[in-house]
Every structure is written in structure tokens, then in C-alpha cells.
Amino acid sequence: MIRAFTRAALLLSGLATAAHAQSVEFSKERFGGDKDALKNAQRELKAGEDAYAADPANYGAALPHFLQAQQLNPDNAALNARIGDCYLHSGTKALALPYLQRAQALAPADDSRTHYLLARALHLNAKWAEAIKEYQRATPMGGGKRAADGALTVTADDLARRLRECRNGQELQQHPVRVFVDNAGPEVNSTFSDYGPVVSADEATLLFTSRRPGGPNAKKDPDGDSYYEDIYQTAWQGKRWRPAASLGAPVDTEGHDATVALAPDGQRLLVYDDENGGDLNESNLKGAAWGKPQHLGNRVNTRYHESSASYSPDGRYLYFVSDKPEGGRGGRDIYKIELEGKGPAENLGAAINTPYGEEGVFMMPDGRTMYFSSEGHNSMGGYDIFKSTLTNGQWSAPENLGWPINTPDDDVFFVTSASGRHGYYSSDRPGGQGGKDIYRVTFLGPEKAPVLSEESQLLASRLAPVAQTLLSPPVAVATARVTILKGTVTDDATHQPLEATIDLVDNKLNQVIATFHSNATSGKYLVSLPSGTNYGIVVRQDGYLFHSENFDLPAEAAYAEVIKDVPLKKLEVGVVIVLNNIFFDTGKAILRPESTAELERLQKLLTEQPTLRLEMAGHTDNVGKPAANQDLSQRRAQAVVAYLTQHGVAAARLAAAGYGDTKPVAPNTTKAGRQLNRRTEFKVTGK
């Protein structure tokens, strides 16, 4: 150690003397006989140099010591260069620039390493043109193993890539995207680093990773100044977030626990741990408590690094990132796997994955829009966030989200609300609470064109001017194509929340495409319905009659949020259930094929309850003649009865009644009301 310090001190003073007279040595002369100050400075230098010269170099440990020494002598060129180098290896790389510039001013150097490091710092500060000049002065180089030996390997490809990034940055910064970027506030962020936000589709719940103290297992991380990662949760209260609280055990452990993904309904959480090279685990929300994270298994996790991931909206698929070499295209790649299937994970291909790294995958609840970060494509440096949409099985060319969302440094782990209007990510931009903070991005879309008016005196013989409004063309309205259905499932009689199973049925295919559960404590549920499907939604629970809803969403249906509370009814005589997924041809009593799933459910109910007797009832709105309505409703009820008897239900257990327009459940004065009145329902007449 003593030898190392001696070498470092010699290095510093030697550089100072040889390189430039302006650089000030750590010498008695500099400290004017203040032996204690000199001793302190030398102690800090030694500690810093020990960490810096270690194999591998420990830049994080070296930096505080170097900074302390620099406070005592700001004008030592080599020390400023060391600090710049340490910052370039930290989470706050952009801070390297003033130190490297100071080092260069104190002791100008013309070697490739100096130009490259200066170029990196300029690049990270978005000083594109200056960075390009410095990169162009650098040449490929290979260095030693340790930082103190000048360890730095830069290939010609690396230099070309950095130049490309700078040019991308120049281009992207010229066309900044219009966004509000708001700090999530002190209720979420701490003075320590907070990052990795994940949000439920309706933005009601936010979870994130924090390195603050205060968690039940909080311990200082020996590798830095912060604490081990823990996961925190908060809920939106209308105007601000509730103060975040640690999830605690069993999710938070003594080691690092980090957020990866939250299912759109907020009921499943993916957590990262650094076992086995980095693995993904899943925790389920049971009532108000998160369960112990379960390993996702070897089809997802390998001995390589699996990091970020995202569920498909139906929960069947997982998009995840791995750096496994098999099937990879270089660096970290994004894969897709069917969780309940048996097949291997599928690489998303060259449209998405580049020879460089991909990270931070997030699939929107619309099932077709994916956000991810990449070091490739037209990144302006490090990881940039990109967006790509899936159309007819093809991913579109990734679109850089642009400046100022993306910066020259790493921009990763970006998630959005289902509407796509808000995004969440972490950043260490100025003005935060300290360390990295979580920010909410509000997308404002293209500039909204102001509208000017003018008038002209167009007729020579008339005095009155003629108004002429100069209108800009209409704006394109891009909204996510997904409907968020949410609400609370309760017992109809007691109004107590129920944990119920929610089946999402593709009526056209007569297939259950996803199954969700309402929360056991709150009864709350949330289902994402990507546009383009006729959905039957069936809410069921043992001991209750099922409840069905229908959402027939054309492919172009824009974002909507629908709240539908579901009171489940117990099987009692007199109870009436509306069958929202029974469809007839217009004006006829012919059952459409999309009705099959609902009819089979009804048949199953009658099979499971052999003493159950039902009256099938048809109802219409008040359009048309009452007699015709009564006749149509009667025939439709009979059609349902006929289906059931043809499928083995005894006719004696069933009755058919047509009520025409005599029993409306809503005013017939609106389209929505008439829609509600046109219905098929059953009434329990015996059990």
C-alpha cells in the first residue's frame, strides 16, 4: 500500500511538473507549511489511488477521496483527470466534463486517450459538435488491465459508433418532443436513488426500487454509498401519490430486490435478484400482501443475466431480456415466451435486437406497442428508449422517443400508462430530491397549431370586410388502442368484496384467452382489452351465478377506460341474470355463433345444478310495434331454450318468455339505454 501511494504521489507530482507549469503539485510549497492539510490531502490521494489502481478498478470507492483531495488542491491536472475518469465510470457520467476540461487546461495533452475521454464527457453533456471534434482526434487504442495503467480499449468501430451517436443526437435535439417531465415528488422520491418504476395500467399503483434506508432489511451496500435495493409501493390519490412504503418481507430480502414489471391489473409483480447471474421471480398480490417471489423457472432464467421483463396484456406471454449467447444477436436481447407453454423463448429478431444491448422491455396493455431501450438503432448514446408496434406479426422500425426523453447517457426502464399519455422513468436530472429520481412524462403530442383570423374587404363597392379564418389542418390523434375495464367485484347481498375469477373470452373463437382474479381484500379488478376483438367477460365464483359483460371492440377503437362494478348474485329463486354475450341476427331469432361460449356456460351451470329451473326471458327496446317486439323477444327466448334442450337439458326445467318492450331497465330515449333494454336474461324459478 505504501508503495502504491508513493507511486501515485510521484505520478501526480511528476505529471504536474513535466506537463504544464500551471498544474500545482501536492507539495509543501502549495500548502504553505500547513503540514496537517498536506497530510490530509496525501491520505485522501492514497485512499483514492488504492481503489483506482485496484484490479479491477473501484472507481466508486476512489471518487470521494479524490474529490476530497481536489478540494484541498483544485489545480492538479492529473487529479482532475482521475476524477473525470471516475465520473465516466459512475452513474453520473456527465459530471466528468469540468474536471477533464480543467485537467486539459492545466496540462494540455494531445494523446488519443485524453481526446477520447474528453470526447466522452462532451458527448455525455450533449455538446455534440465539440464531442465530434475530439472523437475525430482520437485513434483506436488498447490499454492495460487497470485504470491506473490507462486501461482503455477503443476500436475503430467504437469511434465510428460514437460519432454516429453524436450525429444522431444533433439530429434528434433539433426536433425535441413536446413533453412535460415532472418529478414524482417527495412522496415517491428520496434523497437516495429511486428508479425502476412500474405502474398499473390505470396508473393507480406505482412500485419502484429505492436505495434509501428505512426498509425492514435496509443495509448499507459495501460497493457504494447507498443501501441495498428495496421495493417501495405507492398509490395515486387524485392529485398526488401517497407516501411510498416498503413492500417488506417476503418480497424485500436482505439482498438486492428490484422491480422489473407489474402486470396491468397490478396483481402480479416481477422481481429481480442477482442469483444465478441475474434471475426473474414473480410475486402475487393476495389481498393487501405480496407473496414470496417464485422463480420463473429455467425456460426463462438461465445461468446468464435475465433482467427486465414485461407481461403481455393477457398475461400469457412474457417479454424479457437476457444476455444468453444462444440465439442472441449480440449483447442483451429481447425474447418472448409463452409462460404456460413448452417451447423455448423466441428472439424478437433483427427488427428489434441489434448487435448492441437491448434492455428495459415494456409491452403496453394494447398488446401491440412495445417500448424498450437499445444501444443500437439511432441511439444518441448509451441506451435510448425506443418504441415499436406490432402489425400483422411484424415489428415496425423502432422509433427513438427523442430529446429530451432520451439523453446521451443510459435511458432505460421506461413504462407507460395504458392510455400512452404518461410514461414513467428515472433520471438524475438537476432539481430532483437526490440521486436518481422517478419522473412522470406527459406526452403533449405534436405542437398544437394556433389559429389566426383575418378579414378582407373583398368587394370594391362594399365597405364591410369579409371574415376569413386561416385554419391549420386537423391534427392526427394518436391514442392507444385498448380499453381498460376495471371495477370491484362484490357480493350482491352483503356488498362485501369478493375474490372472483375473471375469464376473458374471445367470442368469435369461443376461447378463453386469459384469466384474471379480483383482489381478495378489495375485490378490485382491472382487465386490458386490446382493440380488435369481441370480448366476453365472465366473472365467476363458487356459490354464485356468473356475471357476463360484452365488449365488441373494433380494431380502430381508441383508448377508453370503463368502470364496471360487478355484484355477484347467489343462486336464489327469483334472481335474474343478464346474458350479455348472447347475440342474434338483427331482427331475427337466429343465434349467432359468437353466442356459443355463453350458451355453453349456461349449459354447464344447468349440468352442475341438476335441480335448477330457469325462465329464459327476451326483451327489446321500444323501437317498432309492441306486438312485433313481443313476438321477437318470445322467439329469441325460445331459441335459447331450444339450444339448451338440444344439448341435453330437460325441457321441463326451462321456460321461455318474451316481454317485448314492457320491462325496460333504462330509458329508451338514448342509444345506450335502448342497448341495455335489448337483452336476454334468465330468472331462477327453482333450485
Binding site: 389559429v451 389566426l452 374587404q457 373583398l458 368587394l459 370594391a460 386561416l470 391534427v475 360484452n550 347475440f583
Partner: protein
């Protein structure tokens, strides 16, 4: 106006509004002193003309009444009394007198033309257009009838038909500056901008004092992308006429199009200083404040425009934009919706894109 000289044999100016082709009392006065008999009707008729010329319309009316009392089939007296009644804004009586004149002199294009003007003044556009048409059937070379019918058609939004009429006018009178000007305006409305520029230029050549042609030519030039030429025309106008808020506003718009936002702001400032009740200037200044990212000022200017004109859709739209940037999301939504309610449907698009409540797509019916 060259048209007036043609009408001197027939008409007296019936009012400033109609001076482009005014009705005139006949001036082929009868020289009573050389005629035999008492000539009471003729004397009264001539007195009526003198009073009309002196704009003493009541006395003129009394004189023509005397003439007609003495000679009930005196057609020129009916026509001149009609012109007098037109001057006195007694339009039904004027029409009745022209009717009588036409009975006595069927097919006289001047009587049709006069009656057309009376109908027009009474707001009876179709009847006026029909009478201008009848005048033209009687005399296709009568340029004012073409022109006046063209104006009526223009005001009805029938720009193609108006342009055809102005064509007729300039064929009948190749020096008819107003007809060139208004044909240019018809071309402007028909998006035939190069032709509009050409006609405004011709009108200015014939009548350099026709300053509105400079403003209108500038408008046409802007639409053809000739912003420098347009700005020159505005400048020329404003060096000659410095008190026109409309002209400053329109040049401000051109400067806005030219991305000269500081220049536009100065023009809108000037327009407001000249006429603080000119809502367009307030709205347009709000627009330029938006571009300059002075959102609070933009909102304030749009608010003033709305105070002056509470149904000003464009001002609602602009204020919505400003309020969005001021983080007043709910208020922005209200403004965009209001703009849409007042006819700017794009307001609903903005509201939907911003996630305003009530703008989620309607969930399609299941059945």
C-alpha cells in the same frame, strides 16, 4: 368611378352604398320655354331634377308628384320619382314607381336596373338579381348590371357565377377597375390565386387609389407562397394608410407565416392600439404569444378576444393551447370543447388527444 359618367343621362346617386352603379334621375330635361302651352308637368319635372341634384329629396318628391298629377303617363317622371324614393329609402314605393315606368316603357333596361337597385336596397336579393338579369337581356353591354349582379352572387357565396358576371363587366367595359378587383376576389375564393393576383394588379393599374387591392393581392400572394411579395404589398399599403387595424392585423398574419414572430407581435400590438375592440388582433396576438411560448400572455389575449366576442371559436382553441402549457388541464379541455361546440371540430381532436374527460372513445355496442 367611370360608371357614373355613363349613367349621368339617367340617374341620381341613390346613396353611398350603391354608388358603384347608382340610380339617377333623368336629366334630358324638357326645355319648357321653347314648347307651347302651359307645360306644367314638364316644369315640375325639371324642378324635381334640380331639387334632386341639390339633394333636396323632399322637394324633389313634391315636384315629381306635381309632374305626374299633371301628366299621369309621364314615364321619366315615374323613373325619377323612383330614384328620389330610393334616396329617401322608401324602397317599396320606389319599386312601385319603377313598375309604373316599365309599364309605360316596356323593356327599358334603365328601369330594370333601377328597380334592381331598389330590390337590392330592400334586401330582396333574388328579385334584384332577376332585374339585373332583365336589364342585361335588354342591354348586354351595360357593364354596371353585370357588376352589380356579380356582387350579389359573390355575397351569396356563388363565386363561380360571380366570376362569370365580373367577366361580363370587364368585357363590356375593359377599364372597369372595380370589376377587375372583384373578379380577383372571386378567383381568390375559388382558390385560383395566380389569376387573382393578376386581376388585382390590373385593378391597381386602372385605379392606383384602390388601396384594398393591395391588401387583397397580398392575401392571394400568401396563398401562392409569395410571402416576400405579400409583405411588400402590405408595407406599401401601410405607408399610405397608417390607421387601419385590419391591415396591421393582416400583415401580422403574413409575418407570422414568415415565422417573423417579433414582427407579427409588433403588428398586432399596433392593431390593438388603433382599435382595442378588434377581437381578431387580440386572438392573433394570442397565437403569436403561443409561438413565443409566452403562455400566460397568450391566455390573457385570447380571454380579451373572447370578452369582445364570446362566440369566437378560434380564441377558445388558442386559449386551450395556452392553458394546456400553463398546466391548467381542466380549463384547456373546457376551451377545446367550447371551440368544437362553436364549429371548430378540431377542438374535440385536441381534447381527445389530451385525455380530457368525456373524450374516451365510446365503447361500441355489443349487439
Amino acid at each position: 368611378m367611370p360608371r357614373n359618367s355613363l349613367l349621368l343621362t339617367w340617374g341620381l346617386c341613390a346613396g353611398a352604398l350603391l354608388c358603384a352603379a347608382p340610380a339617377r334621375a333623368q336629366v334630358d330635361s324638357v326645355r319648357a320655354s321653347t314648347l307651347p302651352g302651359r307645360q306644367l308637368a314638364e316644369k315640375a319635372y325639371n324642378a324635381g331634377l334640380a331639387n334632386y341634384s341639390a339633394q333636396n329629396y323632399s322637394a324633389a318628391l313634391a315636384s315629381f308628384n306635381q309632374a305626374l298629377a299633371a301628366k299621369p303617363d309621364f314615364a321619366p317622371a315615374y323613373a325619377n320619382r323612383a330614384a328620389t324614393r330610393l334616396a329617401l329609402k322608401d324602397y317599396p314605393a320606389a319599386v312601385a314607381d319603377y313598375d309604373q315606368a316599365l309599364k309605360l316603357e316596356p323593356g327599358a333596361y334603365a328601369h330594370y336596373f333601377g328597380r334592381a337597385q331598389a330590390h337590392e336596397a330592400a334586401g330582396e336579393g333574388p328579385a334584384a338579381a332577376a332585374d339585373y338579369g332583365a336589364a342585361l337581356q335588354a342591354n348586354t353591354a351595360y357593364a354596371p348590371a353585370w357588376y352589380n349582379r356579380g356582387v350579389l352572387r359573390f355575397e351569396q357565396g356563388e363565386y363561380q357565377a360571380a366570376r362569370d358576371d365580373f367577366d361580363g363587366a370587364v368585357k363590356a367595359d375593359p377599364n372597369y377597375a372595380y370589376a377587375y378587383h372583384d373578379r380577383a376576389s372571386a378567383n381568390l375564393e375559388l382558390a385560383n390565386w395566380p389569376a387573382a393576383v393578376q386581376d388585382y394588379t390590373k385593378a391597381l393599374a386602372l385605379q392606383p387609389t384602390l388601396l384594398p387591392a393591395l391588401l387583397n393581392r397580398a392575401a392571394a400572394e400568401r396563398r401562392t407562397g409569395q410571402l416576400p411579395a405579400a409583405l411588400r404589398d402590405y408595407d406599401t399599403y401601410l405607408t399610405q394608410k397608417t390607421d387601419n387595424a385590419l391591415a396591421f392585423t393582416n400583415r401580422g398574419n403574413a409575418r407570422f407565416e414568415n415565422k417573423d414572430y417579433a414582427g407579427a407581435l409588433a403588428d398586432f400590438d399596433r392593431a390593438i392600439a388603433l382599435d382595442a375592440k378588434y377581437a381578431y388582433a387580440w386572438n392573433n396576438r394570442a397565437a403569436v404569444e403561443l409561438k413565443l411560448e409566452h403562455y400566460a400572455k397568450a391566455a390573457a389575449d385570447a380571454t380579451e378576444a373572447l370578452r369582445l366576442n364570446p362566440k369566437y371559436a378560434e380564441a377558445y382553441l388558442n386559449r386551450g393551447h395556452a392553458r394546456e402549457m400553463l398546466r391548467q388541464a381542466d380549463e384547456a379541455c373546457q376551451d377545446w370543447h367550447q371551440a368544437a361546440a362553436l364549429g371548430l371540430a378540431v377542438g374535440n381532436d385536441y381534447a381527445a388527444a389530451a385525455g380530457c374527460s368525456g373524450d374516451a372513445a365510446e365503447v361500441p355496442a355489443g349487439k
